[in-house]
Symmetry: C2
Subunit: 587 residues, 2 copies
């Protein structure tokens, strides 16, 4: 080893030992004949000390040539520091340097290697290897390593076996777009990269593996929104001879274990909520339940407190729904206007915002006083459980569409009221998802989870009767702080039901056989009841790290155009390669 | 859970408990009013027992419909068995069944699900999910899981951090052929799948990660020889501020740990051997040192015991080299002919085999008695340290080429003499590899390991002087039982040296910058001395499993044409996909 110790481990107990340290020059101070150097590595910072008259002159001279981020080696004696530095673990000691050398000089980095850097996003992506030197970024990847480790510990303990499934698989039409890989040995044919190891883990259940997991890279060629990556990592799991309840308990246990080990905290209750309930009361299939603020309906299939008062907007809407922003009655006109602007943003798309205040003096004042009497407003207030000081925010519109708009407003109010503390965690399962959803544009039904999800046995009748929208699935998502961190389902394990499912999704018999024949064949040779789920590992790590961005938890992420700007990829390839693969580009 | 216990856990202590078991019907015996069913799952086999007159008739009737591999559920009371079966862990008990049901029927499998199956390779590949049900195959994957787990334990303990590097990277011209992935968002451009995370792990060292590892999928689009897979798994490692000795010690420690944990045995000494020594005495850079049988030269640059005796074959050869097959003097003519045929096989390519016997009566008898006197043979015998009863096998030819031929013969003799016991392990490092090797066909120098390997400091002079063949690298392979299980090197970490290396490999400045500019840039911002290695994880597992075939240790392997015959991949893709990717196939 080029060093005897790392930069995080020396203490008073080492005083008088001669040590050799290696690392990066974080900072140099040269003052009054003394030179101090902060030497950094992954483990910490140790202070080197050189003194005119005591340190050999050539050592002092060399040290004065050091720039930031030079890689050096220094040998000296550990001495007690006069003024301790309690901000670093080695702050009780310093090294009185006798020998020093440059292992590699460094150009001045394009941004500061400090916890708070002056580098913009683009620069930090291009020089990702320098950004990774910064403590917060490195800490994120160390956290990621820990989460993986504790995940494996838990699952190993529960008799799960990690099995590697192939990366070069087969393209399938359902779901997101595949990345494909031309096969040189089979010209004209392509492999696809897996969007998930779904069919392989099901085959492992058919094989009797009983409990499988894998921390595995998956790939989706989708247009990248913020915080989506073309390659991402899943904790992928599957179990046999289980029911939904067993899966929920097993993986609630995993998450609880991770909170204990990674965050040192008890997660608390993990509640359950049906998809129908989530949509009705939160307008989202992943509600943030760190705060209440449930939706209240003024008009719906069940209630109507607003129609026939000559207010055309409410009359035209099939749904009028709102939230109670407790204690916000004194919001200024400007604040309310901001909220109106917020819901009118194109990505939310509401036409406008109606509100009323339950003033502290007991009066009720609305933005629609022209149409509704104080008597009307009192009934509304009652529905909202409103009290003096509350502000009620209301959106009119169309069913789930307006509910989704109100969900955005609810989350915004949660932010404004400080109800979404990233250090607090509230987890719950959303269950009973619909099996199918209708694609207006394509005019056909799609699997909401994927085509292998089992309908609830009591709803299978609707597959036959054609009431496809009524079918609920044994599917579930784990939601923490409004983020879907994982999801899964009980799977179909009978060939006939699987064939029926493909039929409903518009596959011809031939297509189904071509794409998934191997799975349906497998179901004929003794497939056990099984189910499982997958966690988004990048997202889980970002949640533990208290960040919204998965990119911060990926060592070498790609930008929104799918480019790695550091290595400049993707790139053109040689004609020789194209010829061997028997493909041409037509750009 | 659909079961109360698995099929491997019930013992006498459970007698009188009512249990529910699930699993696959391994075997049914119906005899004298009794039915016994062997119920199988991953954990073991439990015997179910049904009895006419005592078991409800409908249960008996149903049980009589079961075929092999039916998935069933059975409830009953645990009772002590009259005749114990000490071949299975649950052999002391059986289940007196009161309820039974079919969870999923099964067609008769195309081959027997037994330890010894009647299924041929092709059938077992097509129905891989059934082959995986067999104990030996499942045990291989469980072993693989264990090897991964113990590897992570060791490396975690040594402060290594597992970091995931990207799968969608950039195609590079050096090394094997890349698999490429067309980019839809960047038309005309391609990602490549990594042949190894080499440059990324080096960047992590530049980032100060200090100790990195990853158990990671890698990809090579090579023509598949037996036992090579287009996707394979590496244990990939890198360390900073180290010298070669530190890397060897660290990973000798890992292998030792794995032998202790996985095999329950001490690996013994891990010796060292230079590449030059390995080639001279074994004709291979991965000699199997479970047995000695070193090469002895009769003619080389250093010795000549054969020339000028009118034997044109030896006169024409620059190298005459042989091995002493101890105790084989009484090999029959037929046996010697077999060996001659062996070395003349096209894949070995020797012209013929010369031999002499040191007979038990003290006489020497050679296949070239016409040219050499007993006096000559005595000198040869002395060189070989031959004793009565030995058979000396000799090949003439050209330097390393004939040595490689003799290596094959040596291994064959090792097999014939039972010297290659798969239950014995001998590990050693081969060190001091040449940095470069000359490609006759391409008429240029190639990196023997890869372009990032550091020359030995004392040999850097030859880079300048042009004696490229003389340069030794700080590169090393770990060889166990003649199998290269891992290899690595100390890396170049200085920009100028790296640039020089690319120049020597025939890169123009522009090409070097285009392909590896990011790495050379990184070296300018403070790169530490570093090095590492990678183990072939599939091969390591097969070694622990005592098998020659990595395919047996991969859940879903591909065949020699790179096809997954189970899912029938690769396959054609839609024109829509091709259009989106802006590529055409030209088959």
């Amino acid at each position: 080893m080029l060093r005897t110790h790392n930069n995080g481990e020396l203490r008073l107990a080492h005083v008088n030992q001669t040590v050799t340290l290696c690392g990066w020059v974080q900072r140099t101070r040269d003052k009054g004949g003394m030179i101090w150097i902060d030497l950094r590595d992954r483990y910490g910072i140790t202070q080197l000390m050189l003194e005119e008259g005591k340190t050999p002159k050539e050592v002092l001279d060399l040290a004065r040539t050091f720039g930031r981020e030079f890689v050096i080696s220094a040998t000296g004696v550990v001495v007690e520091r006069l003024s301790k530095n309690d901000k670093i673990a080695t702050g009780d000691i310093e090294i009185r340097v006798s020998e020093i050398s440059i292992l590699n000089p460094a150009k001045l980095p394009p941004f500061l290697i400090e916890d708070d850097t002056d580098g913009g996003d683009d620069l930090r992506m291009k020089y990702r290897y320098l950004d990774l030197r910064r403590n917060p970024v490195r800490a994120n990847l160390q956290l990621r390593h820990q989460v993986a480790r504790f995940t494996r510990d838990y699952l190993d303990n529960q008799d799960f076996i990690e099995v590697e499934t192939p990366v070069l698989i087969k393209s399938t039409p359902e779901g997101a777009r595949d990345f494909v890989v031309p096969s040189r040995m089979n010209p004209g044919e392509f492999y696809a990269l897996p969007q998930s190891p779904q069919t392989f883990k099901q085959l492992l259940m058919v094989s009797g593996f009983d409990r499988y997991y894998q921390i595995v890279k998956c790939f989706r060629d989708e247009d990248l929104r913020a915080d989506r990556q073309p390659e991402f990592t899943q904790i992928d799991c599957e179990m046999s001879f289980i029911e939904q309840e067993d899966v929920l308990n097993m993986f609630e246990g995993l998450i609880r274990h991770l909170f204990t080990k990674v965050k040192g905290m008890d997660l608390g209750e993990v509640s359950r909520m049906t998809y129908a309930h989530a949509m009705k009361y939160y307008g989202s299939d992943k509600p943030d339940i760190r705060f209440d603020m449930k939706f209240v309906e003024l008009k719906s299939e069940e209630v109507d407190l607003v129609s026939d008062k000559d207010f055309a907007v409410f009359d035209a809407a099939n749904t009028v729904v709102g939230i109670n922003a407790k204690g916000c009655a004194e919001y200024t006109r400007k604040q309310v206007d901001e909220l109106t602007e917020f819901v009118k943003r194109p990505q939310i798309g509401a036409k406008g915002l109606i509100y009323f205040r339950y003033n502290n003096d007991g009066t009720l004042k609305s933005s629609v006083d022209k149409f509704y009497s104080e008597e009307d407003l009192k009934k509304w207030a009652e529905a909202f459980g409103a009290e003096k000081g509350d502000l009620i925010l209301i959106l009119p519109g169309d069913g789930d569409k307006v509910r989704k708009q109100l969900n955005e407003l609810r989350l915004e109010m949660g932010n404004r009221l400080g109800l979404r503390d990233p250090k607090k965690y509230a987890a719950h399962w959303v269950i009973d998802f619909p099996l199918l959803e209708y694609g207006e544009e394509e005019d056909r039904w799609f699997a909401m989870h994927h085509p292998f999800t089992s309908p609830k046995p009591e709803d299978i009748q609707y597959l036959e009767s054609g009431d496809l929208g009524k079918i609920r699935a044994n599917a579930y998502d784990l939601v923490i702080n409004g983020v879907e961190v994982g999801g899964g389902s009980i799977r179909i394990f009978q060939k006939d039901l699987q064939a029926k499912m493909f039929e409903v999704l518009g596959f011809s018999d031939e297509e189904a056989k071509h794409q998934f024949g191997f799975l349906m064949d497998a179901f004929e040779y003794g497939a056990p009841p099984h189910g499982g789920l997958a966690f988004g590992f990048d997202r889980l790590c970002s949640l533990f790290g208290g960040s919204d961005s998965i990119r911060d938890f990926i060592a070498f992420p790609k930008n929104n155009s799918g480019r790695d700007v550091m290595i400049d990829s993707p790139s053109t390839i040689d004609d020789k390669q194209l010829n061997e693969l028997k493909i041409r580009t037509v750009v």
